[in-house]
């Protein structure tokens, strides 16, 4: 199988994630889309690791996973806290910073 197909897949996943972040309002969905983008990047890294025959890409992919895990912890906590105080998970409602 052509190894390029992995790259096409990851580009597709990344685009889906990016479009999801831009168009969806629900914080959880946006969050999942961000995860999708991260994993798309991971896929690219692993693919290149495979293409180049080095382990660098895989190592970085592990870093990304750790960061993603941390992000999930912090991000979900923030979303839950916002939901508790504002009774809404819509990110458009949380626009207080503009003032």
């Amino acid at each position: 199988m052509n190894i390029d197909n992995y790259l096409y897949l990851s580009a597709l996943l990344f685009t889906i994630g990016a479009v999801g972040v831009v168009v969806r309002r629900n914080a959880i969905v946006v969050f999942m889309c961000v995860e999708l983008m991260l994993n798309a990047a991971n896929l690219t890294l692993v693919t290149f690791s495979r293409i180049n025959g080095t382990l660098d890409g895989q190592v970085v992919a592990f870093f990304t996973m750790v960061v993603a895990a941390c992000e999930v912890v912090v991000g979900l906590a923030i979303i839950v806290t916002i939901y508790r105080s504002r009774r809404s998970a819509s990110i458009d409602d949380a626009s207080l910073l503009k003032r």
């Binding site: 831009v22 309002r25 946006v30 949380a94 626009s95 910073l97």
Partner: protein, 629 residues
């Protein structure tokens, strides 16, 4: 040159008095005036001692110096604080301390009711010290310290009763007009240093002939500006009349006998400058001539006795300046007139003070009259001063003024005729206005109301007047006998060639006396033989109206300098506020304005930020792709 360590005591004694009286405050109230008077007298005694020492030495070794310490020394600019006592300064030392002591004595009684008498005496002592420094300094910079010191003392004493707003204004006016003159002195010192490399009298004298005439003319004119400010000469004369706001002893000491004559001292002291700069010298004579007429004309219209005397002072100093502008021929006579004037004008001012003392501080002569009977001693002493000032032989003024007129006439050519003619005419007008003062005050019918109880002043006041009257009678004769003063001062001045005699001396005297007689006669007809109104008449000639307003001096100064200055100030204040600070605030507002308009792009919607990031990233990749293509 001989050094003498005693000179400093001349200044130190009164300075000590001033400081201790000021610093001790109310504790010295009881005896402050006595200490001040004693110290002034002590200074006079030191002066007399120095004179006797000086008389004992040969002519060429008469000047003595004393170096106190190095004052300023930077690079080639070296000025020592050192004193110089020569034939010229000893005259001033004795005049200042002598008349000064008499006026101290007079003031003990005159100021006895004033709660601030101690402060008054402190200022008097301060003045004596500063004035002595002025005449004893051996360089222009040392002189400058005394020069502004007397200005300060004069400011403090004119404004002694500064709780009255008008008096405070008068003192400020005097200080500021004096400062304009001081600026001239600054310029003179700067030019002297830049072109001659020295600011001491001896140094400038040495170099006077090797410097270009333009340089010496510049120095000379700047010294003249200084003299004009201090001596109330045209065009900086306007402060003297207002300076009469000070207590009368102050008017007698500072604004008649000593400080205002400092300009004459400066010019005579700088004779080497003016001898090397004929243009500046001529200008001195012209300024003197203009002022002597100016003062005389103002004097004819003043009803305030002190202002009339002030106008007369201005006019008499005009004579001295005229004399000083006549070169070596006139210096000695200028100084002689200065000394005799010191006696008779101080005497008359004290007389005026005595009259005011007896008349509840009334100064308007139209409210006087017939005081001869009530104040006989004042009348006699004032009368002797009067005879001296109008130049009746053998009183003091006759000798000095006659000599000045004669020298002016003999100056040669049109210049001599114009200057001499002005001096002659001035003598006539002097006779007129002084006779007017005498008649209005002493001999015309009484015009005061019955609330007034004129009385003779106590002995502490009339004794100094009497001593000064003796001086008014005798000083002219003594100083001119065998040309005593002229020969005494001669070593200081350059030789001058024989001058042409326009008219024989006896004719000049005759002319002068004729003018005086006409002046007296006119005054007698106008004031003694016809009735004087107690209120100044309104229907008078245009000239009288202008003369009453000091020939419009204040109006002119205000229109030319004060108002434009005020306008300039307010324009600059607005300029600073709106243009300069406005520009600064403008920059701040631009920063804040651009911030608030950029803020609109921050919507607060996470998704729009995400969109922007996405577009940005895409654009970046596209850009890299385009570049690498």
């Amino acid at each position: 040159m001989v050094t003498n360590s005693g000179l400093v005591y001349l200044i130190a004694l009164p300075l000590f008095g001033a400081l201790s009286l000021l610093l001790l405050g109310r504790r010295a109230d009881k005896w402050g005036h006595l200490l001040a008077t004693a110290l002034s007298a002590g200074s006079f005694a030191v002066g007399l001692f120095q004179l006797s020492e000086m008389l004992g030495r040969a002519t060429e070794s008469r000047p003595v110096t004393q170096k106190l310490f190095t004052w300023i020394s930077v690079g080639s600019f070296n000025v020592d604080a050192s004193l110089l006592l020569d034939q010229l300064s000893i005259c001033f030392v004795l005049l200042i301390t002598g008349v000064g002591t008499l006026i101290h004595i007079y003031s003990i009684s005159y100021m006895s009711d004033d709660p601030d008498r101690r402060r008054f005496f402190a200022f008097l002592n301060l003045f004596i010290a500063a004035m002595l420094l002025l005449v004893l300094g051996d360089s222009y910079l040392n002189l400058y310290v005394g020069w502004e010191g007397v200005g300060l003392a004069s400011y403090l004493l004119i404004g002694f009763w500064n709780q009255k707003a008008a008096y405070a204004t008068a003192s400020k006016k005097a200080f500021i007009m004096n400062r304009i003159g001081d600026m001239g002195l600054s310029f003179a010192i700067m030019i002297a240093f830049a072109s001659l490399g020295t600011v001491s009298f001896s140094g400038v004298k040495e170099n006077a002939h090797s410097a270009s005439e333009a340089t010496m003319t510049a120095i000379g004119i700047m010294l003249l500006v200084a003299a004009v400010g201090k001596s109330a000469q045209f065009p900086l004369q306007a402060w003297l009349g207002d300076a009469m706001a000070g207590p009368t002893p102050v008017s007698a000491l500072i604004h008649a006998a000593t400080m205002v004559t400092a300009g004459v001292y400066l010019i005579v002291r700088s004779n080497f400058v003016f001898d090397a700069a004929p243009t500046a010298q001529l200008l001195v004579a012209i300024i003197g001539a203009i002022t002597l007429m100016f003062g005389a004309l103002v004097g004819t219209a003043k009803d305030d006795i002190k202002k009339a005397l002030a106008a007369s002072t201005m006019s008499q100093i005009g004579y001295m300046i005229l004399g000083a502008g006549l070169g070596p021929a006139g210096y000695a006579f200028a100084i002689m007139h200065l000394l005799t004037h010191g006696f008779f004008k101080a005497g008359m001012f004290l007389g005026a003070g005595s009259v005011m003392h007896g008349m509840n501080d009334e100064v308007n002569m139209r409210k006087y009259g017939a005081l001869r009977k009530f104040m006989p001693i004042t009348f006699i002493t004032f009368g002797l001063g009067y005879l001296a000032i109008i130049g009746v032989p053998p009183f003091a003024g006759f000798y000095s003024k006659d000599m000045l007129i004669e020298t002016a006439l003999n100056a040669g050519g049109v210049k001599g005729i114009l200057l001499g003619g002005t001096a002659l005419l001035g003598a006539g007008i002097t006779a007129f206005y002084m006779t007017r003062v005498m008649i209005l005050t002493f001999t015309s019918p009484k015009r005061w109301d019955d609330n007034q109880h004129p009385h003779e002043s106590p002995i502490l006041m009339w004794a100094p007047m009497a001593i000064l009257a003796i001086g008014s009678v005798s000083s002219g004769f003594l100083l001119s006998r065998g040309d005593a003063l002229k020969h005494w001062l001669e070593p200081l001045f350059e030789e001058h060639g024989e001058h042409t005699e326009l008219l024989p001396p006896i004719v000049v005297s005759g002319l002068a006396l004729t003018m005086v007689a006409i002046g007296v006669a006119l005054a007698v007809v106008k004031y003694q033989l016809s009735e004087v109104e107690a209120v100044a008449p309104e229907n008078v000639t245009e000239f009288t109206q202008i003369a009453r307003r000091d020939l419009l001096q204040d109006e002119i100064n205000e229109a030319l300098f004060m108002r434009p200055g005020q306008v300039l100030t307010s324009v600059l204040v607005k300029f600073d506020e709106s243009v300069i600070d406005g520009a600064v605030r403008g920059i701040g507002q631009i920063a804040m304005g651009s911030g608030s308009s950029l803020r609109r792009t921050q919507t607060g919607f996470v998704r729009s930020y995400a969109m922007l990031i996405l577009i940005g990233a895409a654009a970046l990749i596209a850009a890299i792709w385009v570049v690498t293509l």
